[in-house]
Amino acid sequence: MSTRTLISPAQLARPRGKALYWVVFGLVVALFTVVFLGPMYWMVSSGFKDTQEVVQTPPTLVPESFQPDNYSQAWNVMDLASLLGNTLFYAFGALAFQLVFDVAAAYSLSKLRPVFGKAILGLMLATLMIPATVLVVPQYLTVLDVPIFERNLLNTPWAIWLPSVTNAFNIFLLKRFFDSIPRELLDAASMDGASPMRTLRSIVLPISRPILGVVSIFAIVGVWKDFLWPMLTLPDPSKQTLNVGIYSLSNGVPMNVLIAALTMASLPTLVIFLIFQRNIMSGLTAGGLKG
């Protein structure tokens, strides 16, 4: 079933090869588990320890003092409910904006092909070549005073939502997928008198579910993981995201409570990942590289 790799099946079939395989396999699984899961296990379990035990050496593997109210304390003291609410609000808002604007743009560039379409796509892709951090300063100044509209977007969700649309990579990913939808399908729809909007809604979008899923997950996780931009544009503590809020409160709370807060802040994206891991991984390897 699986294709041949570095080590030949014949070598593996020999008793010595078999034994060696299982030893290596055991070592790899153990090492990976310790390296990748270890720190996370330490985080979750330390969230249950009391203040002494959490800084004790050597550290305990299983918490001896069981303090589940670290979690409720973290929830109340750091006001995680509102930080979580803010983050969800920004993440799903950004998702909505990206789905509407980026999908429409990719559809137009791929299937409607307006004049200057190629040039516009080129200009969009050019933004991928500019190091993102270089643009942070002028972008911040734009948010302070949006030209023409003369609005200050500081401390408003627009500061997160609108720049999130400028995701050339998503547009590129979507366009490539739309390009693969057979022309005849859309022609048939327009023969029947379907408007471009109707075609998009009833033909293109249903076919594109896999790529829409991938783009959606990346959009949400992107906002969830972002740090610098929300730190700059949402200085008001009541408007902050989980990342920024926890960071700015991190010095004032006991370590075990802080760790409990970190655990809770990590859960949503981990859960998303565990549910959608298949889609994420296929999306990552299908289009993850080309930019």
Binding site: V28, Q56, L135, S266
Partner: protein, 319 residues
């Protein structure tokens, strides 16, 4: 390109309605139809284009102007190369570039090699691939504040797990983030742990595309494990490897969040001050947007070459 057998009218319509998507009822002139089609198409584009205009294209232009301007209490004046001079004369300037270069080199040694080795190992195993893949990608899904604070605790010289592990193997304890000689390495280790998942999965996909016969042929020639990696695996994944290398360089030269959260940015004796941290300081601690933009422009010029190479290579891969 146009076949001579086409009648003039056919040729004309082929030229106009390149995509015959929406032209169902043939009403109005060709011009009217094409105008309507274009208006619809641009209508679909407008939202994204406006966002790009305000939050990408305009800032790109502005970055360039800012580098040669000074903003003083809302008053903007042209100062020519003065900002560049300020940046050059800053004692932190060369240190920041040295640190960034050090970070990039260390991140290439670790962050480039480790995921590749991990991908090879996972690819060789016949069992538990799904579990291992999942493990490697898990840290990528953690919010950076969580992973960074996690590492801060692991590195702690007092109760940190890492020194505990070192002690177990009889190695001397280290100061990690507090030691100016080790602080950058510590940042790189944390950063590799946080970010390697994506690269490892991409390599894994590339490895699965290598035809098995190549390994068989190499074996017939008497190649051992390492020679098979050197002569088959690496050449076969060359394009992906070089793309990832360029991407790594571009990404690591812009490192900010990890040192900012782990060591407060500067680190002991400024040992983790990176170029982007310096930009951040100019802009948001000293309100000197001009200097920040000038330094940003230098970074942009340096990275433009890598970006161009990346675009060229990924085009080659598309074909």
């Amino acid at each position: 390109m146009s076949a001579p057998s086409l009648t003039p009218s056919k040729a004309a319509s082929a030229r106009h309605a390149q995509p015959p998507v929406d032209g169902p009822p043939r009403r109005g002139g060709a011009f009217g139809r094409s105008l309507k089609r274009n208006l619809t198409a641009h209508g679909f584009l407008i939202g994204a284009v406006l966002c790009f205009a305000f939050f990408s294209w305009y800032p790109m232009v502005r970055e360039f102007f800012l580098a040669f301007q000074k903003t003083d209490q809302g008053e903007v004046s042209w100062v020519g190369l003065e900002n560049l001079e300020t940046v050059f004369n800053d004692p932190a300037f060369w240190q920041a570039w040295r640190n960034t270069a050090l970070f990039t080199v260390l991140a290439l040694v670790l962050g480039f090699a480790v995921p590749f080795v991990v991908a090879i190992v996972i690819n060789e195993l016949r069992h538990g691939k799904g579990y291992l893949r999942l493990l490697v990608y898990l840290p990528v899904m953690l919010p950076p504040v969580a992973s960074v604070l996690l590492f801060k605790y692991l590195y702690d010289p007092g109760y940190g797990m890492l020194n505990e592990v070192f002690g177990f193997f009889g190695l001397p304890e280290q100061q990690w983030l507090q030691d100016p000689d080790l602080s950058m390495l510590s940042v790189v280790i944390a950063s590799t742990w946080m970010n390697m998942g994506g690269a490892a999965l991409i390599y894994l996909a590339a490895l699965q595309g290598i035809p098995g016969e190549l390994y068989e042929a190499a074996e017939l020639d008497g190649a051992g494990l390492l020679r098979k990696i050197w002569h088959v695996t690496i050449p076969q994944t060359r394009l992906i490897l070089s793309l990832m290398l360029l991407m790594q360089i571009i990404a690591t030269m812009q490192v900010f969040v990890e040192p900012f959260l782990l060591t407060g940015g500067a680190g002991p004796e400024g040992s983790t001050t990176t170029v982007v941290y310096l930009i951040y300081q100019y802009a948001f601690n000293f309100n000197n947007y001009g200097a920040a933009a000038a330094l940003g422009l230098l970074l942009l010029v340096l990275l433009a070459g890598f970006s161009a190479a990346y675009v060229k290579l990924s085009r080659a891969e598309d074909e």
